[in-house]
Symmetry: C2
Subunit: 357 residues, 2 copies
């Protein structure tokens, strides 16, 4: 294992120290318990948006803390969920009298720990809500998840809901926007190489020199199938088809019912993409794939979407939700409407995403 790291136990702490040193105007870091928060938190009267999850996906989530996006982010160890006490402390720190919205990727550990944290925050008398992101069209269940995994749509949700909160949406309105973004987004990823978790010291899996994994998760979880390596166009064709040919999807989620102060099971059935849909298209590097290849992927994806009658209104191309140094790419399509576009275009200034300011 060759990485630019020091002691394995210090990997997460030291990258947070670097983040804080590089962006003191945007973020501060609490080390015990561990969370990243807006330098100017709490922002009074604004819904506080927090997220979190295992480290190793940078810039997500700590790199998305700042103006117009997250108020706080709770990093676990690499590929390990944050604990409830981190999330609870973070929520307390950033709450600005307008409640806390938690954006949670659908991984079993994250779901449990954010649920516990929500109950702690609620017990303190704060307004709180959480929304699950489960957008990965690759697989139904997987190693770390019941139901679909939460992947690329998380980045888009953090941007869009962040802008909604900044614009003065209240907690229920922010939750509605977040729920909509999740229901409008679908993703698929592929890996050409494995990544190496520092504490493991060896690659998570071995793909060999001639195969790729189709439908990979962001922790190197197996996907749909392992296939002989193909051209970029063939791989992108499979990816775009997997998203566009993904049928109606019924998701079951446990959601907090704020009125009755209890958890309820909800189901939503979402329609597939269809011709005429306007989308935000997000081509993401898993960490080790360079930008040049992302543009080769973008080219074929754009061509296919045009053939299928979809219109790309906005796009994002780069490494935003990664798996350490894994080579691979994911595509996320998010159906958009005027509200989503308005919040997408709104100014944002975080270490990892910035425009308009």
């Amino acid at each position: 294992m060759k990485k630019l790291i020091n002691a394995i136990n210090d990997v997460v702490k030291e990258q947070l120290q670097g983040l804080a040193a590089a962006h003191p105007d945007l973020v501060k870091v609490s080390y015990e318990p561990r969370y990243v928060y807006r330098a100017d938190a709490p922002v009074k009267g604004k819904v506080a948006l927090i997220s979190g999850g295992g480290s190793g996906h940078e810039p997500m989530h700590g790199g998305f803390v700042g103006r117009g996006m997250l108020d706080g982010a709770c990093p676990g160890e690499v590929f390990t969920s944050p604990t409830p006490d981190q999330i609870y402390a973070c929520a307390q720190r950033v709450e600005g009298n307008a409640g806390v919205l938690m954006i949670v990727k659908n991984y079993t550990g994250d779901v449990l720990n954010f649920e516990t944290a929500l109950e702690l925050v609620h017990a303190d008398g704060l307004q709180v809500q959480s929304i699950l992101i489960d957008d990965d069209a690759a697989v139904k269940d997987s190693l770390y998840t019941a139901g679909r995994r939460g992947v690329g749509t998380t980045v888009l949700a953090e941007k869009i809901v962040g802008a909604a909160a900044e614009a003065g949406y209240d907690l229920d309105q922010c939750a509605d926007v977040c729920r909509k973004v999740n229901r409008y987004g679908r993703s698929i990823g592929v890996a050409l190489t494995s990544c190496t978790v520092p504490a493991a010291g060896k690659p998570t899996f071995d793909l060999g020199g001639t195969e790729f994994e189709f439908g990979i998760g962001i922790h190197g979880e197996p996907g749909r199938q392992r296939l002989p390596m193909q051209s970029a166009d063939e791989i992108v064709e499979m990816m775009v088809q997997a998203i566009l040919d993904d049928g109606p999807y019924t998701r079951s989620v446990r959601e907090w019912d704020r009125r009755n102060e209890t958890w309820v099971d909800k189901t939503f059935t979402d329609e597939p993409f269809k011709p005429g849909d306007k989308v935000i298209a997000f081509v993401n590097s898993m960490g080790g794939t360079p930008l040049s290849e992302l543009y080769i992927v973008y080219r074929k994806m754009a061509e296919m979407l045009e053939q299928r009658g979809l219109v790309i209104l906005r796009n994002l191309v780069g490494p935003y939700i990664t798996s350490l140094e894994m080579q691979g790419v994911s595509i996320t399509l998010l159906k958009s409407d005027d509200e989503i576009l308005k919040f997408w275009d709104a100014p944002v200034h975080t270490p990892g995403l910035r425009w308009g300011m």
Copy 2:
């Protein structure tokens, strides 16, 4: 070789097609001859800034075309200089009656081809100037270069001079700013892995599992020495020392004398960094190193600069001048003054770098 590419001969063309498809509001692409240019070029009355070089360093240079940075960029094949006809056509396309400034990285092929192109542009009666970037403190001469190589300072120069041109600086003033930025910047890079040039099909060099290359160039040229792998802190210490302990440097450059319409040989002797210097610090991924590790590098670099009495006023952390999928990192320090800072902070909107708009 596993890459997200199609036919090897199409790699550069297809990534340009993707760039153009993703950013039609910012850039357009000419394919014969090949160059990227501002969608609204020519910008009348503004000095036109162009650069170029081998592909494989994305987002540099095509990703830096847009508002507040480059007007045009000429990509060669991977790690291969662009030809004079590309550069000439690009200059003609973007010239807006205020002259053309070429920013050229110091590689033998680039230097020769930009010189030829400059003469062609001059013969057409246009005002033209070129400035060489030679900031790599690692080595004096190398495989592709006489004198120091042009590396990370190029990115900073394109941003700063781009803003100067946007602010109305004339050709000679833009050239002066560019010359100053080059003389104020020093860089050093390390590689943990080789990259694979598509046409070669195998890694440029073999580092093995336990070594790193200190002082690497952006084409995988050998650096100062190959060493057993060390901790991030030890490697960063070597890197920062190499920059800060780099003595006075006398560069010899062939520069176009606009008044006498001839080439002249110039020498500049530049002072080393010293306590009290204010700098822009740039921590760059060579392509395959994830952001998490860049922040671990940033942390140690910032600590050392503070110990040595230097003050970081601005920073840039991410993959901006890459070597395909190479794992590694480079550090560039740029001494700054009020003029440099003002232009650094000015709004920019390109595919690869954006703020303030």
